[in-house]
């Protein structure tokens, strides 16, 4: 059963197309991830699906409810953990949860039992009466996840759930996400620009860049689409070697980035000598070479022609200025 379904969903801001005619669906019980660099349109998509922004074009439904016509039904059915913390830090954890439950119309009995359930799920029982301003970053994120689950949403949206957290805390958050997906059968839609996060959590991933979905598939399929093995090499004449290698049928893909050439192949270790032979025939000297299993980084490179990190510095700057101007995130 499809919990989220979009058709040609589009959002334009003053002529700039942030989300460009995307169509996809998310099935019940699945963890679906949008993977893409900052500014790719991930948050804008979430904001449209959660009724915070009106789409410019196209349509989408959540649990069968149209996001523009049945806004209250949509809202009742979704939980959200925003990219920026959205807790009232002057209230206790318990109060944050209780206020949330009231706004979603849970009765007194239900509120009490549900608060206990979600607090147990994220291990915050002991801290429930502390003011949120005294929580650590990881605890705040856990409380937000608990809050998102309070009203039994059919789908939980997580916008960059581990942004800005340290490695250990990220790992813990991942495990909580997996746990609630399993225990509560909550469908999860998450966005991330971390490859390892998508790899660890998601059943299926959509790669999004410049507002367009480039591919949607399971992690395994995506990886094998690149080739069973990935060979990365540097050499004295990248252009010449690439032109030569592209004629070889056993090479599934060739991509050039920075000063490296990346090849998708089968049985990589057997191919290394052949590559040396080919390089010799055109007098190109290979300086380094390695073979490994493909990661989502390779998948991203394969579909977008660049690594996700190529974009980082510039986009982090943009993000910084956006924050200064009052968090008008797209």
């Amino acid at each position: 059963m499809e919990i989220i379904k979009t058709e040609q969903l589009t959002k334009k801001f003053n002529g700039f197309t942030a989300v460009d005619h995307i169509s996809f669906s998310v099935n019940k019980g699945e963890i679906f991830g949008f993977l893409g660099p900052n500014g790719a349109g991930k948050t804008t998509t979430i904001k449209m699906l959660t009724t915070l922004l009106y789409p410019t074009d196209g349509k989408a439904t959540i649990s069968g409810y149209d996001i523009t016509k049945k806004r209250d039904d949509v809202r009742q059915n979704i939980g959200i953990v925003f990219q920026d913390p959205a807790l009232d830090t002057e209230l206790t954890g318990l109060e944050n949860l209780d206020f949330h439950a009231r706004m979603y119309g849970l009765d007194k009995e239900k509120r009490k039992s549900r608060v206990n359930e979600v607090l147990t799920l994220v291990d915050l029982q002991e801290k429930k009466n502390d003011l949120v301003k005294n929580y650590s970053g990881g605890m705040k994120r856990r409380l937000e996840i608990a809050r998102g689950l309070m009203h039994y949403p059919t789908v939980l949206f997580l916008d960059e759930p581990t942004l800005g957290l340290d490695a250990q805390t990220r790992r813990a958050i991942w495990d909580y996400i997996k746990k609630m997906n399993k225990d509560e059968h909550t469908t999860i839609f998450l966005t991330t620009h971390y490859m390892d996060e998508a790899d660890y959590l998601c059943d299926r991933v959509g790669i999004i860049d410049h507002g367009k979905i480039l591919v949607i598939d399971t992690i395994d399929h995506l990886k094998s689409s690149v080739g069973n093995d990935v060979i990365t090499l540097s050499c004295s004449n990248l252009v010449a070697l690439r032109a030569k290698l592209q004629q070889e049928k056993w090479i599934k893909s060739t991509k050039e980035h920075d000063s490296f050439l990346t090849l998708g192949v089968q049985k990589g270790e057997e191919k290394i000598p052949r590559i040396f032979d080919i390089a010799n025939t055109i007098d190109v000297r290979i300086q380094s070479i390695n073979v490994r299993k493909p990661t989502l980084d390779d998948v991203f490179l394969y579909y977008t022609g660049r690594t996700i990190r190529d974009q980082e510095p510039e986009n982090l700057l943009q993000k910084g200025t956006r924050r200064l101007h009052g968090r008008r995130d797209l």
Binding site: I80, A86, L87, L91, Y104, R327, R328
Partner: protein, 255 residues
Amino acid sequence: MKFVELQAIYVMWLRQMKRFGRAKSRIVASIIQPLFFLFILGSGFNIASFAGLEGEYIHFLAPGIIAMAITLSSMFTGVSVLWDKQFGFLQEVLVAPISRLSIIIGRTLGGATTALFQGLIILVISLALGVTISSIGGLIITLITMVLLSFTAVGFGLIFASKMNDFQGFQVIMTLLIMPLFFLSSAFFPISESLPSWLKAIAYVNPLFYMVDGLRGSLTGMNNVFPPLVDLAIIFFFCVVMMGLGSYFFSKSEV
């Protein structure tokens, strides 16, 4: 109205009560500051003589200080929407299945409650300092005026909170708009015939003038320019306009 909307109003109100109760320094500051005005200005200007001033200066000053305490506190509430915007909490509220009207009503009631609480404390202190109540009817009009005053100021704060994205703007509004309006509200000195005519003109289009004048007339029964009920009618008009504009801008504002 659906039950969940009432819950939402209650939550918005309760949230403000809890926050207010915990911000001890804010409570203290918001009571101490008007007291300084009351004591220092009260004693300082007591020796000066204003033309046509009836009774002691403190009787004249107290209603102005009550109005000031309520206005500043309520405006703060309206503008604190900015805080929620800045700290992301507004998103959590806007994405809940409740109407924006409930959010505004709950917030306004919360702001009005805290402002009234502060206003009442100043009122009690004023009484202790020798200000006398003119009549029971007058006291009732005083309380109604205080409520309307705080709604008006919350609405005013909401307008700015919806249009601004940071707090510098709030400071500018306070310095360039609210303080001058207060000085010309007759809170500190009477708007008498001997003032330059342009100053008088500004005073008479200044909503705060009617609020201070209304409070003064209803509470002490002296030194007021208009009858308290006329002031009340004018304040009611301003209140409806400000609340209407505030709600409109807030419902149009983006996160």
